[in-house]
């Protein structure tokens, strides 16, 4: 019986959410914007081409680099568990691992990957 009551509440809540969102959608639709209100503001100027264009994401090399090194961080979670049992040896191994990664950063720096494209 309690399960039936809970299911009823869920159905009623979902039904009223549906009605409210439909009503809200129609209300927003009625707030009509003119062609000029939809235009981007350009200080009285006009746009000649559509803004649906592909532009250069200039931080892409930095973003890729960040993702690569961010994924290396995943190895540190199991390492934290191992470190409790192994102690200093695990610490030295992790320092070696980070040292190799640092060489990678230095290489990326030399290749000017950290500069704004």
């Amino acid at each position: 019986m309690a399960a039936f009551g809970a299911a009823l509440v869920v159905v009623l809540a979902a039904g009223s959410a549906l009605v409210v969102t439909r009503w809200a959608g129609r209300a927003v639709d009625r707030a009509h914007l003119t062609a000029f209100e939809r235009d981007p503001f350009l200080g009285g100027g006009t746009i000649e081409t559509h803004a649906w264009g592909r532009f250069h994401v200039r931080y892409y090399s930095m973003a890729l680099l960040f993702l690569a090194f961010d994924m290396e961080m995943v190895f540190m979670y199991p390492w934290a568990k191992v470190f409790v049992g192994e102690g200093a040896i695990a610490l030295v191994e992790m320092l070696m691992f980070i040292g190799i990664l640092l060489l990678g950063i230095l290489y990326a720096w030399r290749e000017r990957a950290l500069e704004w494209a």
Partner: protein, 438 residues
């Protein structure tokens, strides 16, 4: 209750500067009870300042219709004469005396509490083109979008500096874009935030058929000095105020709003005895790291072609006051030779020249400036037989801006102190042969 609370807040104003309005708009940021906003969408009041020209009419109406209701237009008129263009374009706009901020506020408060109706749209609401494909739901057709979205073609391709070939956005910015000097129109080709091509649009302050002649509103004393004696101290105090106001403009552009207002207030109150106040300001700004970080190595100019403070900041020791007999015996030497051709150098130059102008004003006492053929104006030499400084600088602007990122380009433009009214005045000055309007 809510409208009354809203009426108690500062009124959001979008200024639209027309011919002769540069002076009145300069101090709008200091007006009590008003808040200058960057877009018409955020504004309650569209404040038209000065006299409309035909070239300004269409941009004005477009901006008017981009405001959200409730909206009202106020017109700060500079003289008592009628402005038939304004009356025909926006008949409901209220004529108010120039500089009367309280009147603007009263109009807006009346609108907010419901005592005044919101203005209707000035232009007909017509879609440039219907965006509809061939399918039953408007989908499909030719090209990626299945049609021409809102009457505008998709961007073309262009080479990027990174070796990629990506889309290029084409747009016309101005004449009332807040980051640009009033009246400047830029035709831009942008790849992301990089300017790939920059064209200078027609100057809307240039008097066309049926328009009143251009006047150089913010430098009346300088134009008067061509034909009549003017106290040297008056010219130099004006120069000092202008230089300090340029520093305020750069601070505002960089988002240091409170500091900008403080500096602008100092600029409006500056007198010949205020050397210490400017010296203190220079000392404070020297420690303002964010100002120098944002302007260093931005907009580096060559030494050729640039005149006035910009040319002198780049190292050219050229100043019409050197050959002006009225400055003899005042110990005048142009400040030049630092070779700081970037935006930071120009800010330092403005500060140094403001100090120098106040020192000259103090030394000059009551000495009168006799009329001469060439006068060192606020932005460089003014003469009947040569282009004004802004006209010279506009010719060099495109090549300076190409390949800059958008933020740096705006910083460069602010640092160049362009005045489109001065550029429009160019032709008026030459046709009058030096006998210019007061």
């Amino acid at each position: 209750m809510l409208p009354r609370l809203a009426a108690g807040a500062d009124v959001a104003v979008f200024p639209f500067v027309a011919a002769g309005g540069r002076d009145a708009v300069a101090n709008l940021h200091l007006a009590r009870g008003l808040r200058v906003v960057e877009t018409p969408r955020a504004a309650t009041v569209l404040l038209v300042i000065g006299r409309l020209t035909r070239a300004l009419l269409e941009p004005l109406l477009r901006i008017h219709d981009q405001m959200a209701a409730p909206r009202v237009t106020a017109h700060w008129v500079l003289d008592d004469g009628p402005d038939p263009l304004m009356v025909a374009a926006l008949p409901t706009a209220l004529r108010l005396p120039a500089g009367d901020a309280m009147a603007v506020r009263s109009v807006a408060v009346e609108l907010i509490i419901g005592g005044r109706p919101s203005e209707p749209a000035a232009l007909t609401d017509v879609e440039p083109a219907v965006w509809r494909g061939v399918g039953p739901y408007g989908q499909g057709g030719t090209g990626m979008t299945g049609g021409v979205p809102y009457g505008r073609p998709l961007p073309g391709w262009a080479e990027d500096r990174d070796g990629l070939k990506l889309d290029q956005l084409q747009l016309r910015l101005g004449p009332a874009y807040p980051g640009l000097p009033p009246g400047l129109v830029l035709d831009l080709h942008m790849q992301g935030d990089i300017l790939q091509d920059v064209g200078i649009g027609p100057n809307p302050f240039l008097a066309g058929p049926g328009d009143p002649p251009a006047v150089m509103a913010d430098a009346k004393a300088f134009t008067r000095a061509f034909s009549a004696p003017v106290p040297v101290a008056e010219l130099e105090v004006l120069r000092a105020r202008h230089n300090v106001a340029r520093v305020a403009a750069m601070l505002r552009h960089l988002g240091l709003t409170a500091e900008s207002e403080r500096v602008l207030r100092l600029a409006t109150q500056l007198g010949a005895g205020d050397i210490d106040a400017v010296r203190r300001l220079a000392g404070e700004l020297r420690r303002r790291r964010s100002l120098w970080w944002a302007t260093a190595d931005v907009g580096v100019v060559g030494i050729d072609g640039w005149v006035g403070p910009i040319g002198r900041a780049a190292g050219a020791a050229v100043d019409a006051r050197l050959d002006d007999p009225s400055y003899e015996g005042l110990g005048f030497e142009p400040i030049a030779g630092h070779g700081e051709a970037d935006s930071a150098g120009r800010v330092r130059q403005h500060l140094a020249e403001a100090l120098q102008a106040l020192e000259l004003a103090e030394r000059a006492g009551s000495r009168a400036h006799d009329p001469v053929a060439v006068i060192e104006g606020l932005r460089g030499p003014l003469a009947a037989d040569r282009p004004t400084p802004t006209a010279l600088h506009l010719a060099l602007l495109s090549s300076l801006l190409v390949d800059q990122e958008w933020g740096d380009a705006l910083t460069t433009i602010v640092s160049l102190d362009l005045d489109m009214e001065e550029a429009a005045f160019d032709t008026a000055l030459q046709s009058a042969g030096g006998e210019v309007a007061q």
